[in-house]
């Protein structure tokens, strides 16, 4: 029987990381993410893992990448200002194809902003904050249970695609306590990075095996290969040749985009006959669902799509919903970041309405309901 626990979102992230066999954690304290570090500092040494409080967030992610290259599944956690400091190394992990997980518990910005209040202001930073054209995977939990499951999945995706994965939580979810029953370890499927089948003498470290994801030996396993943030050829050596750089960068994108159909992680509620549909993520999706239920009770045909993965953006699922909608409503705790993505894929299919909040207070179901009634006329 599953054990039912009362857990906070941040604690569930830690449990997810441990369930995914995270062996290394480095971070610099910042509210509202600190509980993740506190818990990791307690749990990892007891499990012969490593916890280190780094001198800053740049060092946190640097150490995480180093540990991952040495073969340890690794994670860091932060919030807005620290997330900004990590961007250079997110870029590095992306081009050097080093699996790692970054939890960003969003708080009100810009800058030091409203430190301990919820926000969803880092959506585009998660997507485009790091320099250079790079692929990224961003997951967004909307409950304590999802903090657990999506952290496990973040590790799985990062290992599978050899890429950094961002878990974009928010203060509301991070500090929320809910009753959850977590799966036992035999119910959790873990993915490990691909390993070379061939011996070191004939191993070509960055050759595409057909999946777009080259096998990855750990340092010390006898493969002695080169890892660099410079654009590199199949052997890992710096190149500026257009005929090597172009296919290389395209492979980085393609290794994820070829699986786009498998990455349409969204949950729909009441969308069988709905014509007004809400698209939301994170804590706002909860308010969205309550509003939908209220609207349904009043006989309104309203539905919800909750996004669990923000990037790569689930164009297929979203456009499907648009086909049957007259209006899409996108409530979010920012000035309109995911709604830009929605509008980008909409291409005139339906009407897109937004509901934004930047006062760093949660969006209430009543507010969404009010907007629904306004749209409904």
């Amino acid at each position: 029987m599953k054990k039912t626990e009362l857990l906070q979102g941040n604690e569930a992230c830690v449990k997810g990381a441990l369930a995914a066999d995270c062996r290394f954690f480095a971070a610099y304290p910042i509210t509202p993410s600190s509980e993740i570090a506190h818990r990791m500092a307690y749990e990892l040494p007891r499990r012969c893992g490593i916890f280190i409080q780094a001198e800053d967030e740049i060092a946190s992610l640097g150490a995480v990448i180093g540990a991952s290259l040495a073969g340890a599944k690794s994670m860091t956690a932060t919030s807005g200002p620290g997330f900004s400091l990590m961007q250079e190394h997110i870029s590095f992990a992306s081009i050097a194809e080093v699996p790692c997980v970054i939890v960003n518990v969003m708080r009100g910005g810009p800058s030091t902003g409203v430190p301990t209040h919820p926000s969803q202001g880092d959506v585009m930073q998660a997507r485009w904050g790091a320099h250079g054209d790079h692929p990224i995977i961003v997951l967004a939990p909307s409950s304590v249970a999802e903090c657990f499951s999506l952290t496990v999945e973040a590790f799985n995706l990062s290992e599978k695609y050899r890429t950094p994965v961002i878990v974009l939580s928010d203060e509301f979810i991070a500090h929320l306590r809910e009753k959850v029953s977590l799966p036992s370890s035999d119910e959790i499927e873990l993915v490990e990075r691909p390993k070379p089948a061939e011996p070191p003498e004939v191993f070509v470290p960055y050759r595409d095996p057909g999946t777009g994801v080259p096998p990855m030996p750990s340092f010390g396993e006898g493969y002695r290969y080169h890892v660099t943030g410079l654009c590199h050829d199949e052997r890992g050596y710096p190149t500026t040749r257009a005929d090597e750089v172009e296919p290389f960068i395209r492979r980085l994108f393609h290794k994820i985009s070829r699986d786009l159909d498998k990455l349409q992680w969204g949950e729909t509620y009441y969308t069988e006959d709905s014509t007004l549909n809400i698209i939301a993520f994170g804590s706002v999706a909860r308010a969205g669902l309550t509003a939908v239920k209220t609207a349904r009770a009043k006989g309104m045909k309203v539905g919800l799509l909750k996004l669990l993965i923000l990037f790569p953006f689930m164009r297929r699922k979203v456009t499907q919903l648009m086909e049957s909608s007259t209006t899409i409503l996108v409530p979010e705790m920012n000035m309109g970041q995911i709604s830009r993505e929605v509008k980008r894929v909409n291409q005139g299919r339906c009407h897109v309405e937004t509901l934004n909040r930047v006062a760093h207070e949660p969006i209430m179901p009543q507010e969404i309901m009010h907007k629904i009634e306004e749209i409904y006329g």
């Binding site: 062996r23 290394f24 480095a26 040494p45 007891r46 499990r47 012969c48 490593i50 280190i52 780094a54 001198e55 800053d56 740049i58 060092a59 946190s60 992610l61 640097g62 150490a63 995480v64 990448i65 180093g66 540990a67 991952s68 290259l69 040495a70 073969g71 340890a72 690794s74 250079e88 190394h89 590095f92 750990s218 340092f219 010390g220 396993e221 006898g222 493969y223 002695r224 290969y225 080169h226 890892v227 660099t228 943030g229 410079l230 052997r235 050596y237 710096p238």
Partner: protein, 279 residues
Amino acid sequence: MARKKHVIYKYLRTTKRFPSIWCPGCGVGIFLGALLRAIDKSNYSKDQIVLVSGIGCAGRLTTYVDFNTLHTTHGRALTFATGIKLAKPELKVIVIMGDGDAVAIGGNHFIHAARRNIEITSIVINNGIYGMTGGQLSPATPLDVETISSPYGNLEPSFDICRLAEAAGSSFVARSTVYHAGHMERLIGKALQKKGFTMVEIISQCPVHYGRQVGLNSAVEMMKWQRDNAVTDDKAKGLSEEELQGKIRIGVLVDREIPTYQERLENLKESLKEKAVAL
């Protein structure tokens, strides 16, 4: 007569075509030779060594050698090295940085790695300038020197990188120059054997971006300057304060036994085992 192949060929990557990116007269190549000879004399295998570098001319060194190699970001090499060493302590982690890399953009990581006394051999190749980006001043550029970013002369005093490492808590601190190739090799060898955080500063030359600015017009002139201005401990004893002004102290400057991060970590693991914490 059969010529004996130089020992460094054992460690150069045959799959990477030379020449290197370094300019003629650059000191990094001489340093690389000394590093490889020191490694050859140590008992570390190629598989065991992880060579980590930052960004800059010195940082490019990792490309050419047959170890586990990691070319990181500007100033952050020590952070990656920390992760590697903690995750897999059996690896020998060596970090190569330029002066800007180590004590400008990477200054914070530098002092904290030394403070933790984490088992990493770090080497700072100090050419007194930003080589890679075309000759801007670095925190190791002497006062008054005119560079492309200090056209009226440098207003900032320079760091003594060795004293910085010492004050921050490094187990072992040493300095040499690329002129003193054999001396440099021996110091690197010592650093490789020492527990804890070790730092060797190598005074090197950048004839292209630095030499010309200070009236030393070739690599040879710059190396002669190293020869004439470096003083060993023995030599220093015979010189007055005044005579020592502007000289470079070379040799082992700090060699002390202080608990390393790894030792503290092992103790922690043991004590947790004793408590037999139930998971």
